[in-house]
Symmetry: C2
Subunit: 359 residues, 2 copies
């Protein structure tokens, strides 16, 4: 197992805020970062090298990979041929299997289910002809989702009755889709697990998450799970990570249904650092970003312990205009991603409010 020494270069596919925070964490450890993206994003301002190119340009990807020591990515929709082109030149971590599974909701659900892990009732839809059977299988209300390229609530339609299925299916544009039965959950939580090259892993405290309009708004720790539920959550996350032979940070989003036979139901996974782990920058000695870099560089994983309680709020669209007031607030850690235009629904920054945890 090779351990990359400081001074090595980390290649990151994608130039958004996750790439930016990964690059800053890498710099703390003495690594250089090279970013490859199809547009100038926030990561470009903190990298030692940047490449603007299409992800489909496999020769450019191969040339980029040759300039770095390891390749990682900050978004799960990296095309598989792109990851494969990079992997022919340098190690790509996490590996292609995680991308393959996470890019298709149907594959993802089938995969997780095959590990004996509870998921919401689901059924695949290849065309209108499958709608009735799918909705019969999941029951209603249900959510129809495109199998690919959905994020932050995009590509989703909720239907209350079977009669609405055709309309909902049309609203998401038809094509490959999945119907999911609704889970009557009490809260949403996410497990941020970091798995090392040697198969070791660490897990951060489990935040409780609040979404609205399909977008994460708030993550808080402590998240309020009982020790027994935390143990179950760890078991689920580590089983998934091991089955993917995963390296790096993996986020596993779960619904919590206290008192149910299966109190934790996996919603989805993200093969990357995750918005619900941003609080680790300010409340932990080693953040999710640093631990991702440590994992893919073959370093010892960092202690995921947190020194403070934390509430992370996303600053979405014009929320960012409150930066002056936030900057005055004791205990508020303000993060601004440096994006120019505050479009509605766009993640512009976040604020983590830390407070003393009970001894």
């Amino acid at each position: 197992m090779t351990r990359l020494p400081p001074g090595s270069t980390i290649g990151i596919l994608g130039g958004g805020q996750l790439g930016r925070m990964l690059a800053m964490a890498a710099a703390r450890l003495g690594f250089k970062c090279a970013i490859y993206s199809d547009h100038r994003g926030p990561a470009f301002d903190v990298a030692s090298a940047t490449t603007l190119g299409r992800f489909e340009d496999l020769e450019a990807i191969a040339r980029f990979a040759a300039t770095v020591d390891v390749v990682t990515y900050e978004f799960e929709n990296v095309p598989l041929p792109t990851a494969a082109a990079a992997a022919r030149v340098r190690p790509v971590r996490p590996g292609p299997k995680a991308l393959e599974v996470a890019q298709d909701r149907l594959t993802e659900k089938a995969f997780i289910s095959s590990l004996g892990i509870p998921v919401a009732p689901f059924a695949g839809i290849r065309g209108e002809a499958d709608l009735a059977a799918a909705v019969a299988a999941t029951g209603t209300p249900a959510i129809l989702k495109t199998t690919r390229l959905g994020y932050d609530g995009k590509g989703q339609a909720r239907i209350e009755t079977a009669a609405q299925a055709a309309t909902g299916y049309a609203a998401i544009g038809g094509g490959q889709a999945v119907a999911e039965g609704l889970v009557a959950f009490t809260e949403e939580v996410s497990v941020l697990i970091v798995r090392g090259l040697a198969g070791d892993h660490v897990v951060y405290d489990i935040p409780r998450n609040t979404h609205s309009g399909g977008i994460l708004r708030r993550s808080s720790v402590p998240g309020g799970l009982t020790p027994r539920t935390v143990e179950q959550a760890h078991a689920i996350a580590s089983r998934i990570a091991a089955a993917l032979d995963y390296v790096g940070v993996l986020a596993v989003e779960m619904f919590h249904v206290p008192g149910a036979a299966d109190p934790l139901i996996v919603n989805e996974i993200a093969p990357r650092v995750h918005n619900s782990g941003h609080w680790t920058i300010d409340a932990c000695a080693v953040s999710q970003f640093e631990n991702h870099i440590r994992a893919i560089a073959g370093w010892p994983l960092g202690d995921p312990g947190r020194h403070s309680n934390a509430v992370m709020d996303n600053l979405i669209g014009h929320d960012i205009d409150t930066w002056e007031a936030l900057a005055r607030e004791p205990g508020a850690c303000v993060h601004h991603y440096g994006k120019h235009e505050a479009r509605p629904g766009r993640k512009m920054g976040h604020v983590t409010r830390i407070s003393q945890r009970a001894p």
Copy 2:
């Protein structure tokens, strides 16, 4: 008073590790950073723009200043004409007076003394003819120091008796110098004060510092001063900062002599972020680096409170080779500056060990 919005560009003169940590703190707030330096240093890897040029090239400095919104510096030996050239184009913060005072030990001591603040006995030396009188004034043992360009113990010679004065003076190369009487101090502490554009200020908890070979080895908080001494230290630092009409982080190094009529004696000041404040990155919501950026950008100053106890150790020369062991240590925050060659005496990184503070 102009408040620079996120997206503005901070210009930093100097490209070392302090510039690197300033650039990373600026990025957190959504600022871009442009670095100007006469050699490729660690800051070059995390900046959005970099310029390699001589500090004496005033036209290049003016062109650089025109590309940024405010200029700051990460080392106190920025030539005054350089700072002046930048200041004709953009605000330079901290201002020229701080540079002028801090660049000359004799000016510095006379200035601090003129504020009624205790300093060690000192006397200026312009040539060999002044030696006897100077050493008579300070007593022995004494330290002879060049007035300019000394740092990390360079340009200093300790003499035990008046008879050694000529040898010591020759050892530091003669020229403009200052003799300083030794202070029988118990410990060294430093006050990290941040002064805003409007004259407001905040002060971090005062670390206790350990030096060896003239180089800072360790800074610890809490530093152990009594509340009354802390109050005196704050009064001294804020008087100096106000007299310099200072903007940004100012470090005031002091000797502590418990029980003396003057328990705090100022050793020297540094008009910049300071090595003894590196622990603030990991133990505070807002680090010294972020607060420096906030100050020079006209932002509200951040709460300097710390959430953890901290012990920061510099990793000097081959100390850095211990990075793997440090990476395994729970609570250890490892910082590697990405410098290539671990020369003796070179600051290669630091580690801050944080632990829970008493409630």
